[in-house]
């Protein structure tokens, strides 16, 4: 089925893309957006500043994009003068394992060569694991040890097991399993995990379920173990069992690995059973509810899964980013409780100041934009702070009615950075509130914005991660992040007197979504490293004919 992947910069730019394809499948990747392309350049009217610079401008603006995947990494590289090389100094393989099985005598010889090691066998096994030596070599070392000591210690068994699991030597794994059963009452987590992994692809896969129960008894289950069990079940066509395991895993508050999710889409394809289709769709809903994004390989699996029944051409409007009334009130309450008051009101502010602020907010009608004065003012060092703030306020005043600028008291004191005249001009355009110099201004910023209602925008380059972290539960954190994406405007680039561009808030929500006929699934490509406070920019878009 043909695919179109469209990136949707603004509501106006959203045009329907209808394409007809006869037989080929096509993917058009969303380009990463150049922020300058979508924002009208701002010309400042003061002609005195419009002086052409001769020579090269060494201070090119670095576009600041807030939520696109990979941008924080880019910023980090820009901000450090020399990009830090990845220091992946792996441990030197000090022992190189032999290529062919050795006899006991030969092993003894080798051991003498490496006399300086306390535990020669341990080091040898470790290097075998890293070098993926053949099973026979490891086995010959075991034989030598067994002849010498008459027994094999548990840790060597586990290491040997790891080698067998890597080579998928199922018979050998099963033998080790039986030996371990005979020797020990119970095992520990790493051996259980290895056994589950090794046996899941074998005819003995049902043993993995027994092992999974055993792990639960003494330790904690991991998503890896569940994933391996699910894989075993799916390989043996036990789809219902696999789904049961999946639900059990989700009920345990484990987030399934993307590879596990991928398995379902890979294995449930050939089946034409309707209830399984629904179950796979339910997995998509699960991704939606937990704001999980597929990676590229999973995206391809989902695409193929749909392919048999779906077909392209899409001009569908994506989901709106605004929170529902109920959600908004919930986040607002939590912000007030956790972020502003927190454990101690005095940590961020003082009760008198909070009262003063609440009075201030209640006296004024709702605002359209709330500006983080200090953050905006420090956008560039080439300009006095007050001048930068003045430019931004003037620019925003053209578009919005009611502005609120939050700042600290020290801004009122005339200085080189804060010119009295600029401040006076600004006071006419916007309302101001100044907190004490010791208080934190971000909580007030959030409070004012939420107090003004769902339409109010917030202007700051701060990613507000610390405030998101303070929120007490994960659902609220997700809602807060959604609100932030939809209401935060960022000064992306600014050259005094020349350019002022904003990165507007996203009009749509980036999340797995459907309206019955179409599915839109954002996913991570393999190249960009997405941080937790960013969202993917690529979409998979599927539609029924």
């Amino acid at each position: 089925m043909p695919l179109t992947l469209t990136f949707l910069p603004t509501k106006q730019n959203f045009t329907a893309v209808y394409r007809r394809f006869t037989s080929t499948t096509l993917c058009r990747w969303a380009e990463s957006i150049d922020p300058k392309a979508f924002h009208p350049e701002m010309k400042i009217k003061d002609s005195s500043m419009m002086k052409k610079k001769t020579g090269k401008d060494r201070f090119l603006p670095k576009p600041f994009s807030a939520f696109a995947a990979g941008s924080s990494k880019m910023r980090a590289i820009c901000n450090t003068n020399n990009a830090v090389a990845n220091d992946s100094s792996s441990r030197l393989n000090i022992v190189s394992p032999p290529d062919t099985p050795l006899s006991a005598k030969e092993w003894e010889k080798l051991k003498e060569e490496y006399q300086h090691f306390k535990k020669f066998e341990n080091v040898m096994f470790e290097s075998m694991i890293t070098n993926h030596s053949p099973v026979e070599v490891a086995k010959s070392l075991l034989v030598a040890m067994a002849k010498r000591d008459g027994d094999i210690e548990y840790n060597y068994l586990v290491m040997y097991l790891a080698i067998c699991v890597f080579h998928k030597d199922i018979e050998e794994i099963y033998d080790i399993y039986n030996i371990m059963k005979a020797k020990y009452k119970s095992l520990e987590a790493s051996a259980y995990s290895l056994l589950i992994k090794g046996l899941s692809g074998s005819p003995h896969w049902k043993e993995t379920l027994v092992l999974l129960e055993k792990v639960k008894k003494v330790s904690f289950h991991s998503k890896q173990n569940y994933g391996d069990c699910i894989e075993g079940a799916l390989l043996n066509q036990e789809r219902n069992l696999a789904f049961e395991l999946f639900h059990e895993m989700v009920a345990e508050n484990l987030t399934p690995a993307l590879t596990t999710v991928k398995l379902f889409f890979d294995f449930c394809q050939p089946v034409k059973e309707d209830h399984l289709k629904n179950k796979c769709t339910n997995i998509l809903y699960y991704l939606r509810d937990h704001q999980i994004y597929p990676d590229e390989s999973l995206m391809l699996s989902i695409k193929q899964w749909f392919e048999s029944r779906q077909c392209p051409s899409c001009g569908h409007l994506l989901e709106d980013i605004n929170l529902s009334e109920e959600e908004f009130i919930n986040v607002k309450e939590k912000i007030k409780r956790d972020v502003i008051e927190g454990t101690d009101v005095f940590r961020n502010t003082s009760p008198q100041e909070l009262e003063r602020f609440q009075r201030f907010v209640n006296e004024h009608p709702p605002f359209d934009v709330v500006i983080d004065g200090l953050n905006v003012a420090k956008t560039t060092l080439r300009n006095p702070s007050s001048k930068t703030l003045l430019d931004v306020v003037f620019y925003l005043a053209q578009k919005y009615h009611r502005l609120l600028v939050l700042g600290r008291r020290h801004m009122l004191k005339h200085s080189f950075q804060w010119r009295k005249s600029d401040m006076d001009v600004m006071q006419k355009k916007a309302d101001f509130f100044f907190t004490d110099n010791m208080s934190k201004d971000d909580p007030f910023l959030l409070y004012a914005t939420f107090h003004s209602g769902g339409h109010c925008m917030i202007v700051t380059r701060d990613l507000l991660r610390d405030h998101k972290a303070v929120l007490s539960d994960s659902v609220t954190r997700r809602l807060f992040f959604k609100w932030q994406r939809g209401h935060q405007m960022v000064v992306s680039s600014y050259i005094p007197g020349k350019i002022l561009t904003f990165e507007d808030a996203l009009p749509y929500d980036t999340i797995v979504q459907t309206d019955g006929n179409t599915w839109h699934i954002p996913y991570d490509d393999n190249l960009s490293n997405r941080a937790s406070f960013e969202i993917p920019v690529k979409w998979l878009c599927l539609q029924k004919k």
Binding site: K51, D151, N155, N178, S186, L209, V218, R347
Partner: protein
């Protein structure tokens, strides 16, 4: 959990069948392997002498029972993970209370290191004892003639008497130094560390030339702090030359003399004032909670100050929050000498790149640079403005 009953009740065919399969396997592998090495020999060696099946059937309805956990720890040890050899019932209970793999592993590693230290200590003592015995033998053979001395040997107990006299003097005439003990949301581990540091402080104070008069304010009777103190000091707690009180420092001292020391304070301490009462928050926060003690000072409207670490050091890394014993050592040195360089010796060396005198060129240089760049900037703007032939409108009055 009972959905798997189906698989759980399946009899697993193991012991006899296993060996049979092995023989069959032997043939398989020995064909392509080296002829002189029997690669499956280890299995028979390991299994010889093992008759019964030791592996138990899992019963999912059961609580995680103690024996299984002990077994689990034992297996972890065999794998070479950090885990203790012996574990008490109480420690096991605590272990089970931890709700994640990583926290359990951390606790086990902690217990293991504790055990190792204990064992090392035992070894050391044994060695010393042996050495002493050796010495004794040689000394016994020597002829001992009494030597004439001015003093009898000065033991620790006589030193303690001197220190206690001095501490008593401080109790009457010394400058107060307050520890604020009103931080109750600490974990058990942090609480123990705090009391450890407090004991260090008390010891350091006693040995000083001119000790402070220590106040432990807001110390709740039978609170967690008090219990910990009693546990650590035992009977000595009542003989300490400190004032422990449930009252707040605000009730005991005039407000205008109190200075709360906190690293979040905007004010930098210039000199040590002998008429002020300094307060140290006795709090250990492993997860750094910013502004806790500053918030407290703000609530009571007290003056605050931070040490001038920025001014005297090239700060390298690490938090500017110091431990309680480092704080008291710094304050004692300041009190008795007034020399910042000497006092700040007690800041850990790993955190900075050496002391620098603020009178040094470096600082002035930086100030100059800043001024220069500002002036250049102004000049540039001025030239721009003037080149536009606009009148100067007095923006840059100085």
């Amino acid at each position: 959990m009972t959905k798997y009953g189906l698989f759980l009740t399946m009899p697993s065919k193991i012991s006899t069948c296993g060996t049979l399969r092995m023989i069959y396997l032997n043939k398989n592998i020995s064909k392509n392997a080296d002829e002189n090495i029997d690669l499956d020999e280890w299995k028979s060696v390991v299994l010889s002498g093992l008759e019964k099946e030791a592996f138990e059937k899992a019963s999912p309805e059961e609580e995680p029972n103690i024996a299984a956990i002990k077994e689990y720890i034992d297996m972890s040890r065999r794998l070479g993970k950090a885990a203790p050899e012996n574990i008490t019932e109480e420690q096991l209970k605590r272990l089970i209370e931890y709700s994640s793999v990583s926290s359990r592993n951390r606790y086990l590693a902690f217990l293991a290191s504790k055990e190792m230290r204990k064992n090392a200590e035992k070894e050391k003592k044994k060695k010393q004892q042996e050495e002493r015995d050796e010495l004794r033998k040689t000394i016994d053979n020597e002829d001992l003639t009494p030597k004439s001395r001015l003093f009898r040997a000065i033991w620790d107990s006589s030193m303690d008497v001197v220190y206690n006299w001095k501490a008593a003097q401080a109790m009457s005439f010394g400058q107060p130094l307050v520890f604020d003990m009103d931080f109750n949301d600490m974990s058990e581990r942090e609480m123990q560390n705090t009391v450890n540091q407090m004991m260090e402080c008390e010891g350091a104070n006693r040995k000083a030339v001119e000790p402070f008069h220590l106040y432990y304010c807001n110390l709740k009777e039978d609170g967690p702090y008090h219990k910990e103190f009693l546990k650590r000091y035992g009977d000595a707690w009542n003989n300490l030359f400190v004032t422990a009180t449930e009252k707040s420092y605000v009730e005991l001292f005039p407000r205008d003399q109190i200075v709360y020391l906190t690293s979040d304070s905007p004010n930098v301490m210039e000199t040590f004032d002998h008429n002020k009462i300094y307060i140290i928050g006795s709090l250990v926060d492993k997860s750094i909670r910013k502004g806790v003690s500053l918030a407290r000072a703000k609530r009571l409207k007290l003056a605050t100050a931070q040490l001038p670490l920025e001014r005297y050091f090239h700060w390298k890394s690490g938090a500017k929050v110091l431990t309680l014993d480092q704080m008291i050592m710094i304050l004692l040195t300041l009190k008795n000498t007034g020399n910042w360089k000497e006092a700040l010796e007690f800041v850990p060396k790993r955190k900075h790149e050496g002391f620098l005198d603020p009178s040094l060129q470096h600082f002035i240089h930086r100030q100059k640079n800043r001024k220069m760049s500002e002036q250049n900037f102004k000049k540039k703007l001025l030239v721009e403005e003037l080149s536009k032939k606009r009148l100067w409108n007095g923006l840059w009055e100085e």
